[in-house]
């Protein structure tokens, strides 16, 4: 497989780091791939710009950070402004229509997805925005299967929230499929 370099960015509390961990863990534990996940830390627990880097490959990964993501996800205007210039030419830039107003063209496929609005309409709880985003990402990229993601969610998330997360994941898959 081609090495995939992803950056998930947004605001603290949106769950972008959790989504990144779930994706990378699914790749390693259930798809027998090699993955490294890291994150830039700031002093804030909520708010502030958050960024998590994921590399997924079938060969050894040495340098663990991403300098030019071929898949960049931005869930806030601030993160879009900050990171959209680093997307790899020919890569993919995924933004949420509620949080990000795109204002320039980059040399990548731009996917402006109604993730927030769909989550609020179909599920009603913004807490699963990250899992819905993750669903859209794997639909667009085919990096790992939804079943592998679900296995990680079952292991990591409280059982009471399992159904909501499953719904969010499949909602995201549909959004991603529609945007292909």
């Amino acid at each position: 497989m081609e090495r995939s370099r992803l950056v998930f960015s947004g605001s603290g509390g949106q769950g972008v780091i959790t989504a990144a961990i779930i994706l990378a863990e699914a790749a390693v534990v259930y798809e027998n791939l090699i993955a490294v996940q890291s994150q830039s830390y700031g002093p804030e627990a909520r708010g502030g710009a958050t960024r998590s880097d994921i590399i997924i490959s079938d060969t050894e990964i040495n340098f663990p950070k991403v300098t030019q993501p071929n898949i960049l996800v931005c869930l806030t205007q601030e993160s879009y402004t900050k990171y959209s210039p680093i997307v790899r030419p020919g890569g993919m830039l995924i933004t949420d229509t509620r949080y990000v107003k795109t204002y320039k063209r980059v040399a990548a496929r731009q996917k402006e997805l109604p993730i927030y609005y769909s989550v609020m309409e179909k599920i009603g709880k913004p807490i699963v925005l990250n899992i819905c985003t993750l669903g859209a990402v794997i639909a667009l990229t085919g990096l790992v299967s939804p079943e592998s993601i679900m296995k990680v969610i079952e292991k990591r998330m409280p059982p009471n929230f399992l159904n909501m997360n499953r719904d969010a994941l499949y909602l995201g898959l549909n959004i991603g499929e529609d945007a292909k």
Binding site: I21, V28, V29, F63, T67
Partner: protein, 382 residues
């Protein structure tokens, strides 16, 4: 899928390895970027009947693990630069009283409180020279989470074998990065258990009288033997003494038990070293960036190699000298103003061929950073 395959942070791998190695007592004061070690210890130790204590500061933390170790437990504490500075007094005491313990320092940018959330490797010299007086210490590092696991187990084994504090010098990148770790089955890695005295109750026990092989059997403090423990220079009973002959013997013993066993203690890895003209020497997270450069340059036919040091103290001078003997240039990659580079210069025949490749701004060094410095070293301009 096997339950033994984990996708975890370096800090968590360190916790799992410590438990695998037999740890049952942890005292610490959480500090970024080592906090996850305390966090996971607090969850995991009660599950196995061990004890976790959050102390009021790092001075108390190291004091607590020293005491617990004396009573027969395998112990650890974890901190970062500022806490490591506070621990130096206790560290010296553990050296002098020969108390096995493991101290993790997940390095961040310094000096002082410095850059709490950013990476640094500035505590290499402090690990050996931070406490006062003459002594030798063991300091170990790792560049990936599987090695964090293996080196942590190794640290506990070294601590017990030589009755010494062992420092695990990790860094923020390794501590926070998640990757695959395969937890070995019980028995897959050999564990060194504490050598305990055979002397019976009521018979005099000399806590500092080495056996013929130089090792010192211990007796659980508060158990069946009464003995003294002190940071003062002491005789075989553990009582303070100024007798020059005894003091000389004690100091020699403290240093020799480490320095005479460099080969047993040293761990390292080498990549593409056989015909390397340009050797990169690195350790911890920066070895990953260096290996990235080596692999890429090799594809283009350039003869680069990497020597990754996993044991930093006692510094493996003869290993470095031997491995670098045929190199035209040596580049030491580290995140400080040049600490290991000095040691490498001392080790090799032509110190003028040793160059520093570093970053000191809290940003993790990238393969591009290394390539840019290599261009200068190779005379290709800026």
């Amino acid at each position: 899928m096997s339950e033994n395959i984990k996708f975890i942070q370096g800090n968590e791998a360190c916790v799992e390895a410590a438990l695998y190695g037999g740890l049952d007592f942890y005292a610490g004061y959480p500090i970024t970027p080592s906090t996850e070690i305390a966090e996971h210890m607090a969850v995991r130790l009660p599950q196995i009947g061990g004890k976790f204590i959050q102390m009021e500061d790092e001075i108390a933390s190291i004091a607590a693990i020293i005491g617990a170790s004396l009573t027969g437990h395998k112990v650890m504490t974890a901190t970062s630069g500022p806490g490591f500075s506070l621990m130096q007094e206790g560290l010296g005491y553990a050296v002098m009283a020969e108390i096995p313990c493991v101290i993790v320092n997940v390095q961040r940018g310094g000096p002082s409180t410095g850059l709490p959330t950013n990476v640094g490797q500035g505590d290499v010299m402090q690990a050996q020279w931070g406490s006062h007086g003459d002594y030798s210490i063991v300091a170990i590092t790792a560049s990936n989470n599987q090695d964090v696991f293996n080196m942590t187990v190794h640290a506990f084994n070294i601590a017990e074998t030589y009755r010494t504090p062992v420092i695990l010098l990790f860094d923020e990148v390794i501590g926070h990065m998640r990757e695959r770790v395969d937890i070995p089955e019980k028995g897959e890695i050999n564990l060194v258990e504490r050598l305990k005295t055979q002397i019976k109750t009521g018979v005099d026990f000399h806590p500092y009288l080495p056996r013929e092989d130089g090792r010192l059997p211990m007796s659980d403090f508060g158990g069946v033997h009464r003995y003294n423990v002190t940071g003062l220079a002491h005789d075989m009973w553990g009582f303070p003494t100024n007798d020059p002959q005894i003091v000389h013997g004690l100091l020699r013993h403290l240093v020799d038990k480490i320095n005479n066993n460099v080969q047993e203690i040293t761990r390292y890895k080498e990549y593409c070293m056989d015909d390397a003209e340009l050797v990169l020497v690195s350790y911890g997270s920066t070895a990953r960036s260096a290996l990235h450069v080596v692999n890429n340059r090799r594809k283009r036919g350039e003869r680069l190699g990497l020597l990754e040091l996993q044991t930093l103290w006692p510094f493996p001078y003869s290993l470095v000298k031997e491995k670098c003997a045929k190199a035209s240039y040596i580049g030491v990659v580290e995140l400080n103003m040049g600490q290991v580079v000095q040691l490498v210069r001392n080790a090799v025949d032509k110190p003028e061929r040793v160059f520093l490749i570093n970053r000191i701004d809290g940003v993790f060094i990238s393969p591009t950073d290394i390539r840019n410095t290599l261009r200068v070293i190779q005379g290709k301009g800026m």
